[in-house]
Subunit: 470 residues, 2 copies
């Protein structure tokens, strides 16, 4: 083959600089998860197709990448393969053509893991998971067919303390990343349920949440239009409008919602949940930006009754994180509480709550705001020039001693013109060079040059140490 090689649409190669930036984000998130007592889990890229199908709605099912069985045309398989293909052409699934698929998110594989291992796990089970997932979505700016998810869930506990912890995890991660001005919007599905009840019954819940979920995109008037189309009457829509217009500080909002929905049992429960989480999260004083210590914002935790979250398995508190208002970017994280993680897999009564970080978007936000630390780019710190066989042998020894001190070094691979070696250091953004030529061999020294400042000094080889290269 001598075609120009390419990669599949919607996938990406990550070169050194991008890997380092992404690792910086992953490592920050991972260390905070660990600080909060979460433990790592990894599940395979492939799941059995039946584990995934039917879990993401009809549209979701279509976006699952299925893996072709191997040996389809083996004589012993041919008949089955044909039958399997015919079923797939009818829009059904067939194990005879494809029995495995790439995971579509981290939640269902986690549920499958908990269902398989619930006898051995210690509950509450707090796990985090940072892995790629795959979706056959139409690729577009910011939407990929292979992308990382970054989840933390606590299962086997109904305590709202978990929600408080997750709020603090968001805050700690975004603060460490320098994202002051981020917003963590919070609501409870119970409030939405109370609104639905108030507007004519629980069966309206889905209609109402679907319409409300679009508020950001289409505006209040269009939401009202949609509600009319969905069969709500003027009085109900007027209540919903009142609901959507609630504003002020968190406290003011709680007062208003109490007046509107506090008389309903489910409304009361939702208000209590929100009061507990907002009251105990103690974010206000923490929300200073370490990089701009003069700016201390208000609490980043914001009550938002218009927040609905599309997914219908949420039953309690729901979250959505957004970047600083100066950056045009959708949600950079989200999550919520669900009553029953593993019921789908035959193990009922395991409630939980979880959050997710949108790493690709966080990466874009940090890029736009220039928030990556300078040293995230640093690869090799020191290049030893190669000035010939004898010289490079001496350089090799000196380099090995520096490496023992943790200094990332290279020796240029061949004896070449100085120019060429300088250019290599420059292109690789290496900060220091060490030159050992014939004079230096005689004196047991090396010339250390700082390529950023241009300063240089001659150092005894025995004195080479990590402090020279900072």
């Amino acid at each position: 083959m001598s075609n120009k090689p390419s990669i599949p649409q919607g996938t990406r190669d990550f070169g050194p600089e991008v890997v380092r930036k992404r690792q910086y984000i992953f490592n920050t998130i991972r260390s905070v998860f660990e600080l909060y007592g979460f433990q790592p889990l990894e599940t395979p890229a492939m799941e059995n197709l039946e584990t995934l199908m039917g879990k993401y709605g009809e549209e979701g099912d279509k976006l699952i990448f299925k893996i072709l069985n191997n040996g389809l045309n083996d004589p012993k398989n041919q008949e089955k393969s044909r039958a399997g293909f015919e079923k797939v052409m009818e829009g059904k699934n067939s194990k005879d053509l494809t029995e495995r698929a790439l995971k579509y998110d981290l939640t269902i594989p986690f549920a499958r893991y908990v269902a398989m291992n619930h006898g051995q796990l210690t509950f509450p089970f707090k796990r985090y998971q940072i892995q790629p997932v795959w979706r056959a979505d139409r690729p577009q700016r910011g939407r990929y067919r292979e992308f990382y998810q970054c989840d933390a869930d606590v299962v086997g506990s109904k305590s709202l303390l978990n929600e408080v912890e997750l709020v603090n995890i968001y805050n700690e991660v975004f603060t460490q990343l320098g994202l002051s001005g981020y917003e963590l919007r919070i609501n409870s599905r119970k409030i939405l349920a109370a609104l639905a009840e108030f507007c004519g019954g629980a069966e309206k819940m889905i209609d109402i949440t679907i319409a409300i979920d679009k508020l950001d995109k289409i505006g209040l008037d269009k939401v009202k239009e949609e509600l009319t189309q969905r069969g709500l009457n003027d009085e109900q829509i007027s209540t919903i409008e009142k609901y959507l217009l609630i504003n002020g500080s968190n406290e003011e909002k709680l007062n208003q919602i109490e007046q509107l929905l506090g008389h309903l049992e489910i409304g009361k429960l939702g208000i209590e949940e929100l009061k507990y989480v907002v009251g105990n999260s103690q974010l206000t004083t923490d929300h200073a930006d370490s990089r701009q210590p003069d700016k201390v914002g208000n609490s980043p935790l914001i009550l938002d009754f218009t927040l609905a979250r599309g997914l219908n398995y949420y039953t309690g508190i729901i979250f959505e994180a957004k970047g600083p208002a100066t950056v045009k970017m959708g949600s950079i994280g989200g999550g919520g509480r669900y009553d029953d993680l593993t019921g789908l897999f035959g193990v009922p009564n395991i409630p939980g709550v979880g959050i997710s970080f949108g790493v690709d978007r966080i990466c874009d936000v940090l890029e736009e705001l220039n928030l990556f630390p300078e040293d995230v780019y640093t690869g090799t710190q020191v290049l030893f020039f190669n000035m010939g066989a004898q010289e490079s042998a001496r350089a090799f020894n000196a380099m090995q001693l520096l490496r023992k001190q943790g200094v990332r070094c290279e020796l240029y691979h061949e004896s070449a013109k100085m120019d060429k070696q300088f250019k290599y250091a420059e292109k690789k953004n290496i900060g220091f060079i060490v030159i050992i030529g014939s004079t230096e061999i005689q004196n047991n020294t090396g010339v250390v040059k700082n390529l950023k400042t241009g300063t240089q000094q001659t150092v005894a080889l025995a004195d080479l140490n990590n402090k020279l290269f900072i």
Copy 2:
């Protein structure tokens, strides 16, 4: 679905303890790669099918996991889908059924990446890559369908200094992992070429290497039988036997090979390569085991002329790493030099050399020899007991201060019997607990208990700090 859930054959879930052990190995390898100036690269799980097909031989092609196109039964696709299926049933490939596949190794995607980006890369390009690959192999002990590879390659340089660096990377990684007694076997394909030439011509090279490669498994007599079957005559086989019986120290082996093959041009080149790499790698004095400082072994770098390495793209130095002789385990790493990485993708003349670590096997070896450091298992360090609403609010504050000092903490999720909370700490292997009850609230103190030693002390909350939990 209420079937018992399961995962695909040959794949694995990694629970918290296993992830931590694997991370320990990955981090060790990664930090050594970085120390030697290698830079990270990540390529997608999926490649275009045409990128992979035909690169791994006929058997390899069969083991590639192919991804079914989405929307096969869309009315507009149906005809093409059928035609594609028929082609696949004839044993061919068809983009109309499957145009993507999961990567089978890291080398071909790396070659594809270099071919796509060679204009922008700085050569020599030193990259490392730690990612999963997928093979539809029959699963068996130690062989999985999804497993990690861990590669470092330098491309765009013919210098043997790269080989010397790679030898030192192996040594540094295995030493850091405590694997004293590992062996790094080394040979040159040029020596094998010389042997082939001496035995009747270059066209015998493949026959001879295939037979020699089996020496470990089937023994000398069977190798001789196989050579006879492959058409070599008695005189040739006697030469090969002499070759295979070469032994002694590295120096003695070099003397013997010089006598046998030193008169041939290609033999001379191979001997020079080996002399350079063995002579410059300077491993002898490094090979002390830091955990058993009284045992200083010989050089772990061992000349082994019986080493052939199956893959035919190697052209120079080849490597194979083995664990300590006390552990029955095949190769835990391997690699070698190739002349032309990217020619397959239309970009000729990029030579290189690379090595790989077999992480699954290294994990098994460390397990068997009990070489994982104790703190690799550590998750949460401190559990704060939950003794009620007021008490837990106080505990929460104390915990947040400890977390700011980097101590990994949890607060038990609900007010429960002490017994239950102790059991949770025990099951999660948490070393310390802090109890704040009503007395402690009054005194602004907490009771800190070391669960391993059983000792406890009462500490002022203001004095809680990371040094208490070591």
